[in-house]
């Protein structure tokens, strides 16, 4: 099953040669990566972050600004952005992890909003207008391709594969067990020798790292970023939604969730036209309620029942 999917994904651009389906897949990979990254801290470790867009934005803005101001290669910028995001997450996590459930969730929202408002008002970073990345010659080094989406496709596939592999390895290792223990019961975890703040921070840092990597990819793909596109609360919510829809604390959940969500989004946009913007959100909203009410374990949970 897995092998078949892998082969299909590898051959996809050869089968579907038009840019549109390739774009769809790229979006699926993007959301799958974001949801999987969130999954580490939100799904496995149970710390519901509703402000994850801040790391996405950190990645996008860091690599873009480094590129525009100092001509730094986007690949190095990607690492820099990811590192910055991880560092940011440690700073954010330290005070926030002491907060219980709802307080923590709201704190993450507050931080996300502060980030967005700040970037809107920071002229040096483009402000509300945003940043237009310089159009460079198409090349792998420049991380820009104009005549075809295929390289973007494979880069996105690669990033997604890496994130999924990392998640798989973590799940099988002591880290995965510790994350799930923390989600299960804090006191029991501490009594079993788990330094809870340390492991929460580890989960968040890894999560932030990969979220930022996705941010840089997005910047290099769209070649335009602004606070509205990389830092809004709605993005943070969508990231969680994809993870929940697919099934938290599972390796394949985020991919399933992403497939459904992106397909749904495209369908409503294509077939329901202008008013479609609101309709697709209505469907999202309804879907979230249904999942939460009837199938909290998401699609993976449903699949397990049919085994």
């Amino acid at each position: 099953m897995f092998a078949a999917t892998a082969v299909f994904l590898l051959l996809f651009p050869a089968i579907f040669t038009l840019p549109f389906p390739q774009h769809i897949m790229i979006m699926i990979f993007l959301y799958a990566t974001l949801a999987q990254s969130w999954n580490l801290i939100g799904g496995y470790a149970g710390q519901v972050s509703l402000g994850h867009a801040v790391y996405f934005g950190a990645g996008a803005y860091t690599s873009s600004l480094l590129l525009m101001k100092w001509g730094l290669s986007p690949w190095l910028g990607m690492l820099a952005g990811a590192g910055l995001a991880a560092g940011l997450s440690l700073i954010i996590g330290y005070p926030c992890f002491r907060l219980a459930g709802h307080y923590f969730a709201i704190a993450t929202i507050a931080i996300g909003e502060i980030a967005q408002i700040s970037m809107v008002n920071w002229k040096g970073g483009g402000g509300a207008v945003g940043l237009y990345l310089p159009i460079l010659d198409e090349s792998f080094t420049n991380f820009e391709f104009h005549s075809t989406k295929v390289p973007y496709y494979y880069i996105a596939l690669g990033i997604t594969a890496i994130v999924f592999l990392v998640t798989y390895l973590i799940e099988k290792s002591w880290l995965g067990f510790y994350f799930r223990a923390i989600k299960g019961d804090l006191d029991a975890s501490r009594a079993l020798g788990i330094n809870v703040p340390k492991y929460k921070s580890i989960a968040l840092a890894i999560s932030a790292f990969f979220t930022a990597v996705a941010g840089t990819f997005y910047a290099q793909y769209i070649l335009f970023i602004d606070p509205e596109s990389v830092l809004p609360l709605m993005l943070s919510i969508l990231i969680c939604l994809v993870a929940i829809l697919g099934g938290v604390a599972s390796v394949w959940g985020p991919f399933l969730g992403s497939v459904v969500l992106v397909s749904l989004s495209e369908y409503t946009r294509t077939y329901l036209g202008g008013g479609g913007k609101a309709i697709d959100l209505m469907i999202y909203g309804g879907l979230i309620v249904l999942i939460a009410r009837f199938q909290p374990e998401g699609l993976m949970g449903m699949l397990k029942k049919f085994r």
């Binding site: 799930r180 989600k183 006191d187 029991a188 079993l192 020798g193 788990i194």
Partner: protein
């Protein structure tokens, strides 16, 4: 040198003194019972020793090391494990996974911990249930799971908080057997209990708390005939029965 030494431990919550200058000494290999009416401060004492609450005054020494202000995870690493009055198992993880969580404090190698978990499952009689979700167990099995899980941390001292509460006769017997096995493994035991028929026969000594103060500490027979203790329990008619250790 005593394995665990508690000196004048005091813990206040606002105006309430939950533990009032409590001192206890436990030698390696002993089974010490901790009894007292509800609200006497037994669980608070456990929480202070295990590092969940920082005491307001007093000292806790374990194997010669001052552990008074250490957090729970450090206390566990040093060799004290504890279970909880309201059992806290990982509901969404299997029995085997629950145990493995405990094992990682001694080794990060998943395969090794997995094997140790299988052995511990065998030791505690939980092998058939290893793939069941923690949340689906009976209360007796949950308590057994909690004990098994703390065994994975290879403790020198195991503190059990009301391990027999809510168990049937048969389940209590099984639990007692497990406790005997633990004792045979040279694990020091500190047990909070309400079920007198259980704790009196197996303990070397019994400590009695009331309103945060230690009112008696002696061999079970003497404790059960102690006037203060009887008064504290008011109407508890229990006479110690002798049983060879």
């Amino acid at each position: 040198m005593a394995l665990l030494q508690v000196n004048d431990l005091t813990k206040r919550f606002g105006g309430l003194v939950a533990c009032d200058r409590v001192s206890v000494e436990i030698q390696e290999g002993e089974i010490i019972g901790l009894i007292g009416p509800n609200g006497a401060g037994k669980t608070t004492l456990f929480n202070c020793i295990a590092g969940f609450y920082p005491p307001n005054a007093g000292r806790v020494t374990f194997a010669g090391q001052d552990i008074t202000s250490l957090p729970p995870d450090r206390v566990c690493q040093l060799g004290i494990a504890r279970t909880f009055q309201v059992v806290k198992i990982f509901k969404d993880m299997t029995v085997l996974e629950n145990l493995m969580v405990g094992g990682f404090v001694r080794s990060l190698n998943t395969r090794k911990v997995h094997q140790e978990a299988m052995e511990t499952l065998n030791f505690t009689g939980l092998t058939e249930k290893r793939d069941m979700l923690g949340g689906s167990l009976t209360i007796a099995d949950k308590k057994r799971l909690e004990i098994a899980r703390s065994l994975m941390t290879k403790p020198r001292l195991l503190m059990l908080d009301e391990a027999m509460a809510g168990l049937t006769q048969k389940e209590t017997q099984d639990a007692l057997e497990l406790i005997h096995k633990l004792h045979e493994q040279k694990i020091t035991l500190f047990l909070v209990e309400h079920v007198m028929e259980v704790i009196m026969p197996i303990s070397h000594r019994v400590v009695v708390l009331e309103y945060g103060k230690k009112i008696a500490e002696d061999v079970p027979e003497k404790v059960s005939n102690n006037e203060e203790v009887i008064k504290a329990y008011l109407g508890d008619k229990y006479h110690a029965s002798r049983r060879a250790h």
